[in-house]
């Protein structure tokens, strides 16, 4: 346990280094001299890494971000289509290979996460496409002997004297020209596709079983691998009795790898049987003595310690003395697994000094780096073939399965498909950190929150992210240096600086004139990772249930109270106001009650009203009204889908999600004891999108944080019970 005073300045400085939810804001890939991984069709126009126009007028879009369901191929494709002036449905979307040109500008590497894609690519990809359209017009002017100013474009054709000429016709001439740097962008009034609803570009494939995920890849000679890992994270193999497993039909290899023991067989089913027949012994590690009760006790001790202040504003002590009412409460959130429906998997073929990796990942550049580090093959001889992701939610940013498959392929010399079981996924995952939070707040007679003192105890994601990502992002740097950097970051985040993702959302949303935020790091060596909406997934629960309690103390309604305390946050204030108007119109049937919550994260504002009943001790959510301001909604229907999905994901956490440790081992294993919300428990959802002129902000995560407190506040209205522990359980 540790915690040290850090000034506000240092806090902001640290936030700058680690902001945004993924990793470091500078380029780590350093591979810009490599050719772009675009395979040109004969005679095609390839102006940059993102677009290829073939002579038969097909337009390929090399999508720099990964599609995990958030609709990024449609969203980014729409930006390209808008400025290139083509129908988005006519785009051939290709998942980009690895190249610095595809970096996420916020992360400095090729990563998808932090609800960032539309925000960071909104101007960039439109500019790329506008420049390409300009060069096609230039080529058309030359080929047709026309004045460029007399030419127009429409849906993939140049219009000259009323005649249509497909773009592809000018590919050869365009290829000889240099694109302008900054062709003018369309103004909002001229948008044909941005802001309009149309069918997702991947809907057809995903409705006919033809979309290809990592698990669907087969290569000739491929063998199937399964891995036995220590039940306690981090424990190394001491010895293994392989005899029973080796006798199973089809088993070809049993190899020891860094995470445990891998079995390779001709068929997956054989590998699965054999891996269960292994008899391994694991080393004893500290985590092996940890139970959930101990974790909670350690957190409880830390939450009362006078340490760990990371942020102060105003004067907290006099504010409490002068407050009309003061409340103090503690809130608990457990470890959670992401449980994407497609378990971790990859296919790797190493042949003639060349490696081909197929996998659905949120970090293809890091995947390439890991293959390089663990095979010794230079990055330029590795091709990463990204597939659709069968769910991501942050889980597919951690690539231990890529390390495993590389070790297996190197040891066996065979092309390998590695597949994790669901039990592997739940028991050997990287988790949303458990958190204990304490909030003490004071409110004055006018319903203004005058003092807000918030503290969080738990582990930090960021040092683990560095540990997971640096080996892949810096494949040429020796392990000893990486380990030293990771050790340094562990000490830093444990003592002198703060991981923003540990406390984000706990204090920023309201006009608290006097506030104090503290953090105490308590680690139990449980592997941690970004989980949809990261820190906001638990801080919103504490903050928004406390706000509801304060509203009651102040004698004000949930909406009015929040409006009074968001005078300096106009966008959040407006979302609360609009949601409040909808709440007034809701007429819950007898026995149903409404709960309200609002939250800002990833620069998007969301307010939700949950309609809930409690029957025989069971919480049932019937309807959720969700108001979102995400700037320009590039595809409003996908914005709605993301709100719907985030609400369901958040409801799973609010009503069911709970992982427990016994002797350092995760007790849950599959969907019977780690249940996911099902259709018969799912509410109707109505989404209202605020019309906005501002540039787009993310929608993949912000729909999640308000739902747990909105339901908890409705449960209070229904029963008088304040639930301060997740998952929500009635006494």
């Amino acid at each position: 346990m540790s915690g040290v005073n850090v000034s506000r300045r240092n806090f902001l400085k640290a936030s700058g280094v680690v902001g945004g939810g993924l990793v470091l804001g500078f380029s780590l890939t350093g591979c810009s001299s490599r050719p772009v991984p675009v395979e040109p069709v004969a005679g095609a126009f390839v102006p940059n890494a993102f677009i290829q126009i073939t002579p038969d007028n097909r337009v390929r879009f090399y999508c720099p971000r990964d599609e995990m369901g958030q609709g990024v191929t449609t969203g980014l494709g729409t930006l390209i289509a808008e400025e290139l002036d083509i129908d988005p449905q006519s785009l051939d979307v290709v998942f980009a290979g690895v190249h610095a040109d595809y970096n996420n500008p916020d992360f400095g590497t090729q990563g998808t996460g932090g609800s960032s894609s539309l925000r960071v690519h909104y101007r960039q990809l439109r500019q790329v496409a506008a420049n390409v359209r300009d060069i096609i017009l230039e080529a058309a002017a030359r080929d047709l002997g026309a004045a460029k100013g007399d030419l127009k474009t429409d849906s993939g054709s140049v219009i000259a004297d009323g005649e249509r000429h497909p773009y592809g016709k000018f590919a050869a001439t365009a290829q000889t020209l240099t694109a302008p740097e900054s062709a003018p962008l369309k103004s909002r009034g001229d948008f044909k596709y941005i802001g309009k609803d149309f069918v997702r570009l991947d809907a057809l494939e995903k409705s006919t079983g033809t979309a290809v995920y990592g698990i669907d890849i087969d290569v000739p000679g491929m063998h199937h691998a399964a891995v036995r890992r220590s039940p306690v994270a981090g424990a190394k193999l001491v010895s293994v009795d392989k005899s029973a497993a080796a006798g199973i039909q089809g088993v070809t290899d049993i190899v020891e790898i860094s995470s445990g023991v891998a079995v390779v067989a001709e068929k997956y089913w054989q590998a699965k049987q054999a891996v269960a027949a292994l008899n391994p012994t694991w080393e004893i590690v500290e985590l092996g003595s940890v139970n959930t009760d101990k974790i909670r006790e350690d957190y409880l001790r830390a939450i009362d310690a006078e340490e760990g202040i990371v942020e102060t504003e105003g004067e907290i002590a006099p504010a409490f003395s002068n407050a009309a009412k003061v409340l103090e409460n503690e809130y608990w959130a457990p470890y959670l697994a992401h449980a994407p429906l497609e378990p971790m998997n990859a296919v790797l073929r190493i042949e003639n000094g060349q490696a081909d990796l197929w996998t659905g990942t949120q970090g293809p550049a890091a995947a390439e780096g890991l293959v390089s580090r663990f095979s010794g093959i230079a990055p330029e001889n590795i091709r990463v073939h990204s597939t659709y992701l069968g769910g991501g939610f942050g889980r597919r940013g951690v690539l231990t399965h890529v390390i495993e498959i590389t070790e297996i392929a190197v040891a066996t010399g065979k092309p390998i498909k590695l597949l994790w079981s669901r039990e592997d996924d739940i028991k050997h995952g990287v988790y949303r950190p458990a958190s204990l939070m304490k909030i003490k707040a004071g409110v004055d007679e006018a319903g203004q929150v005058t003092a807000w003192q918030a503290k969080r105890v738990g582990g930090n994601i960021m040092p683990q992210t560095l540990k997971n990502m640096l080996p892949g992002l810096l494949p040429g740097v020796p392990a000893s240096i990486i380990n030293a950097a990771v050790g340094l970051s562990n000490r830093a985040f444990g003592s002198w600086t703060i991981d923003e993702s540990s406390i984000e959302g706990l204090f920023e949303d309201y006009d608290f004139p006097n506030r104090e935020v503290s953090h105490v790091t308590v680690e139990h060596q449980v592997p941690l990772c970004f989980w949809r909406s990261v820190g906001h997934s638990y801080t919103s629960f504490a903050k928004e249930t406390m706000m509801d309690e304060l509203a009651e103390q102040a004698g004000l309604g949930s909406v009015e109270f929040r409006l009074r305390n968001t005078k300096n946050k106009p966008r959040l204030n407006n979302v609360i106001k609009v949601a409040g108007e909808h709440m007034k119109q809701m007429r819950p049937a007898e026995g149903r009650y409404l709960g309200f919550a609002a939250h800002n994260c990833f620069q998007t504002d969301v307010a939700q009203v949950a309609e809930v009943s409690v029957e025989r001790g069971q919480i049932r959510v019937h309807k959720v009204t969700c108001v979102v301001d995400c700037g320009v909604a590039v595809n409003p229907d996908i914005v709605k889908a993301q709100m719907e999905g985030a609400i369901m994901y958040g409801l799973t956490a609010a009503l069911h999600g709970n992982l427990s440790h016994r002797d350092g081992t995760i007790q849950e294993s599959n969907f019977h004891d780690y249940p996911i919300l099902r259709m018969n428990e799912s509410p109707d959802v109505e989404v209202v999108i605020i019309d906005s002129e501002e540039e787009p902000t993310g929608v993949g995560e912000p729909g999640l944080p308000p739902i747990a407190p909105a339901v908890a506040n409705a449960v209070y209205a229904a029963t008088g019970q304040r639930l301060r522990s997740l998952p929500l359980t009635l006494a």
């Binding site: 449905q89 378990p343 994901y649």
Partner: protein, 171 residues
């Protein structure tokens, strides 16, 4: 050697008779539309029709389907000739990550075959075995009910015009 009918074709396999049907279909017969999600019959991603019934094939040993009729998502319809449910799924942008959707559609198809005009509660009941981790339930339910309604309106079984609901930009 085990013999069964897969999407109308007679097939034979010498896979271990205890191998779940899912792996035989995916790895031996290379039809990849049916997915692996849990291996315990809990999530429904592997759902196929066995003699017309929706069955979780990740826990169904292949010897149990000797002589039976198996239909997978590939046999239900194709991009060029979609089942009405697939057309509705596409038109209404139901999928997010898409991984569970083959299983969802197979469960929904079995439901409508059995009960062409289900109530919302009957849809909930029939679909409760299929997890969608992205939480597309609002749209899955809406799509099923729209197909049922369409079929009832047309009084034409399930033969509604897939071409009429193909993706199209609406301004």
């Amino acid at each position: 050697m085990i013999e069964f009918t897969l999407n109308g074709q007679i097939v034979r396999t010498d896979d271990d008779p205890n191998t779940p049907l899912l792996w035989v279909v995916r790895d031996t017969f290379k039809l990849k539309g049916s997915k692996f999600g849990c291996g315990a019959g809990l999530c429904g991603a592997c759902t196929m029709h066995v003699d017309g019934q929706a069955v979780r094939t990740c826990v169904l040993p292949v010897f149990r389907v000797e002589g039976k009729q198996i239909t997978t998502i590939e046999g239900l319809g194709s991009p060029d000739s979609m089942h009405p449910l697939q057309a509705a799924w596409t038109e209404q942008s139901v999928p997010q990550c898409g991984y569970c959707q083959s299983g969802q559609i197979m469960s929904a198809a079995a439901l409508l075959e059995d009960n062409p005009s289900p109530t919302e509660q009957e849809v909930d009941q029939a679909m409760a075995g299929n997890i969608c981790r992205c939480g597309c339930y609002v749209r899955i339910k809406r799509a099923i009910l729209s197909v049922a309604e369409n079929a009832a309106v047309e009084d034409n079984g399930l033969a509604y015009n897939a071409a009429a609901v193909m993706p199209e930009v609406q301004s």
